[in-house]
Structures are given as C-alpha cells and as structure tokens.
Amino acid sequence: MAVAVKPTLADKAAVLAGLPEHPAVKAILAWNADALTDAKFDFNELTLTIAPEQIRAALATVQAAGYNFFEDMTAVDWFPSSPRFQLSYHILSHPFKEHIRLRVLLDEADPSVESIVSVWPAANFYEREVFDLFGIRFEGHPNLRRILLPDDWKGHPLRKDYPVEGYR
C-alpha cells in the first residue's frame, strides 16, 4: 500500500553519488558547490543543508531549476545543542511533482538570515511567524513584526526554553 521507500542516503557524499541526476542537486552544484554543506535522503525526501548566508541565492537557484512553489517554512529549536536553530524550507515542484527541503543551521547568538520574500512573496507570513515564535530575524523583510501574538508579548513561545504553560 505504502509507496516503496527508497534507501536512505545518510550524508553529502552518499547523496552526490546516489542522486547525481536529481535536478535540485544538479542546480545547486552548478551554482555553488561550496554552499552545500550537507545532504540527506531519508523517507523519500531530499534534504539539502545550505550555508546560512547563501540561503536566498540557493532558493532562487532551485526556483530557476523548476522548484517553483514555496510551500512551507518553519524553524526547529535544538536547544541546548549547538547550532541551536534549524530553518526548514519546503519547496514543491509542479513539473517534477515532488518536494525538497532546504535547511539552514543558525547559532544561538543573534540568529538572523536573509529574507526570501524577494524570491517568493508567499514567504512573508511564514517569516513573520518564525520571527514571532522563535525570535529569528530575517534581514530585508519588508514588515518584520509579530503576526500571531500581540505586539507587546515577551519572549518567543516555540523556543524550547519557554515553558509550555507560559510565564505567570
């Protein structure tokens, strides 16, 4: 019943050897092979880890390679390990009919990354949501302010050091 799960490719070398013809991998390598710091193929999903300062350019590259639809973006807090924050961008390709995940790892001190609103305007609300709930800043975002919580809210609730029941 379930779709056959292809074998896991655990690291960058395995992905480059196992999926040399994958359009996203090819596009990223042709653009800037050094920006690709890690890669993984797991549960039939390709994850490419990109150097933080290159993420906007990397997303513009995969967009040009046929991954035309910005589907989702969020963060994961790996507190207390370092680097603390992970940003996951889920990009869908209408022609290839598949998702890929681009990932960025950020340090705890002043987490910030370039905004991708200029690549996909759809990322606007998503970046505001991550800013609101994780406190990660997006440079160049046109309107980076809280979206779900009140403007005077203290703290960023989805961080792991924020208690589930909140501060009282």
């Binding site: 019943m1 379930a2 589907e71 979206i147």
Partner: protein, 404 residues
Amino acid sequence: MAESAGMPILEPAEGAHDQHMVINMGPQHPATHGVLRLVLEIDGEIVVRIYPEIGYLHTGIEKTCEAKFYQQVVPLTDRINYLDPLSNNLCYALAVEKLLGLEIPAKATWMRVLMAELSRLNSHLIWLGTHAMDIGALTVFLYTFREREEILRLFEAVAGQRMMLSYIRIGGLALEPPLDFLDRVQAFIHTFPEKIDEYSNLLTGNPIFRNRLKGVGYLSAEDAIALGVTGPPMRASGVDFDVRRDIPYCGYEKFQFQVPISTDGDCWARYEVRLVEMRESVKIIQQVLDGMPEGPVKADAPKIVLPDREKMKTQMEALIHHFKIVTEGFEVPAGEVYQSIEAGHGQTGYYVVSDGTAKPYRVHMRYPSFTTLQALETMCKGRMLADVVAVIGSIDIVLGEIDR
C-alpha cells in the same frame, strides 16, 4: 510580481489625507468567517490597500503538541480546521506513519479516502452556503446545511462525534465502521449530485450572484504561485496541480477523477471549480464503495495501535500493551518528514520532527488559508469595498487554521 501584504496601515498614504480613509473591518464581522481583522485604506468605495491582522484565535497548538504523546496530538489536529477535520487527522497520521514505516491495511486506507472525501464535501458545503449568504442569497445556506447535516450524521454513526472526529488514528482507524455505514453513504451519494444541480439552479443563473462574482477578485496564475495560493483558488487561476493526482498519498492513485481547472481566475471561476470538485468527490466515493476491501482497520502493530477491548479483557499481552501506550506512548524513530495532502481548502502539510522519544520534538502545520490570505490585497486592490466580502468568501478561509 505580486507583493504579499505590505506595511500596517495606520493612516492614509502620504498626500492623500483629504481623499482616503482608513477603516477597520472585523474582527467581529459576519463576512470574515471568524475573527479576521482587516485594516483597509479606501478612496471613496475603492480599496487602495488592505492589511490583515490575524492571531485572534491563536492557541499555541504547535507548542502544545510538543508536550503530548504522538497519539494525543490527533484530537488537537481536529480543532485547527474544524470544517474539514478528517484531512487534518489524515495528514498527521500519514506523517507519523512515514516516520514509523508502518503498513496500513487496505480497508483502513480505503475508508480514509472515503472519510476524507466526505469531509471535503462537508467543507465545500459550508463554503457554498456561507459564500452565497455573504452575497445576499440567503436560501442556499439552508439547502447546503440540509446535506451537511446528513454528512454529520454519517460522521456521528462512524465516530460517535459530529465535528471533532479524531477518527483517523496513527496505524489505521479508531473503530470499525458500523455494518450499515456503507449503505448509508451509498444512499447519500445517490441523491447528492441532484442536490448539486439544485444549488446550481439557485445560483448559476442568478443575475445578482453572477454580477457580484464575475470578473471580481482576479488572480493570475503567476500571482497564485508567487503568493503560495493552493487548492481550488489556485486551480481556478489555471494552475493544474492537485496533490491527490500528482503526488498520490493514501492510495489515491487507484481512483479515477478529473481535476477541474479554470483560467478565469475570478470569484466565479472559484465557484465553478468547487462545484465540479464536489461532483468529482462523489465519483471517488462511489469507487471506494464499489471496491471496498475486507479486512482489519488497524495495522498489526501492537506496540503502536491500541488493542481491541475484547482482547484486552482476555489477553495479558494486550492489556500490557494498552497500559504502555496510554501511560508511556510509543517511541518514534528520529528523523523529519513532511507530508502534504489536498484538503478541502488547499494543500495542508505536516512537518513532524522526532528525536526518538514518545513525544514529537516539533510539529509544524502548513495550512492553506494562512498563505492564501496574503493574496487578498492583490485580489481586492482597485475594486469596490463590497467586493472584499465576495473575495473573502470565494477564497474560503478558516480562521482556526490561520491562527492555529
């Protein structure tokens, strides 16, 4: 390229103080379908800018999920999009099952498709009733809620609940459907296409309804993609993509159905696309009923799926498993998955990150209404204020899934 919602609107634009006015629509407004607040800058009756203020229903469900066992998250997902509860259950269950590598029995998969399509009908019926009511055609609401009531009765028969079903669980379904359930669904879909004709008779030829929707709220295919619009509004703008057909999940590749497309991109196109979608859902349900396989509705995974009550009373192991699942949950292998499905309102996605424990490390939900709201300004700019109501109705937003 289209711009997503711009800066907050506090006062009229520079140099237009004498002419423009800033008004507030919502959060308590019947046409916003919940608690959506829009700040509008208007020039007479023409909309210049729109800024949506959201978050009034924010309950922090994503944070709550991190404190629950995997199986305890299922009822939370119902409460996000309360008009299409089974799509939420389905998407979450599929994501966790992907992490677990769990095989789902055929009957459970087919029942999931059946329930997801009924849920889509439910969602579209509410959309049609409320949308028509916003435009001023009050009668349609009574007609669509008549059929919705039948769907809710079917839901109640199968899950004991009318709205928050939590019927699709990790590893299969909560319960066997009752014996006469499939016959009741058959009776319902036998008459349902006539009911769609009835709605169409009430609305399609109605000159007021036509004039309020035709050419209103135009969204081009490029803008739909740039602004992340999915589901019926995207297909009404001419983008031919449906997750059910193109990235099949839950056995959708077995069913024959058409994906309606329109290139008009206006409110009328969205209306027509959704009406055809309802007819296609009926076709899928008919195929499910014709081919429903026999067998169990729960996966054979005693450490993950709760045992039958009867077994619990007679078998020691079943009792232990039950106790363990309820008190300690079950461990899910570390990893991250993203599962996307086609829900009634558009593409729903669940991103589940596991660290190998019994509680999800992170659950993120991608909900279509949240993204579609960004396109509101593009669709309403330069149009009459009254058209905003028509556009909000036609993109079919649910505030529960915007604010989560």
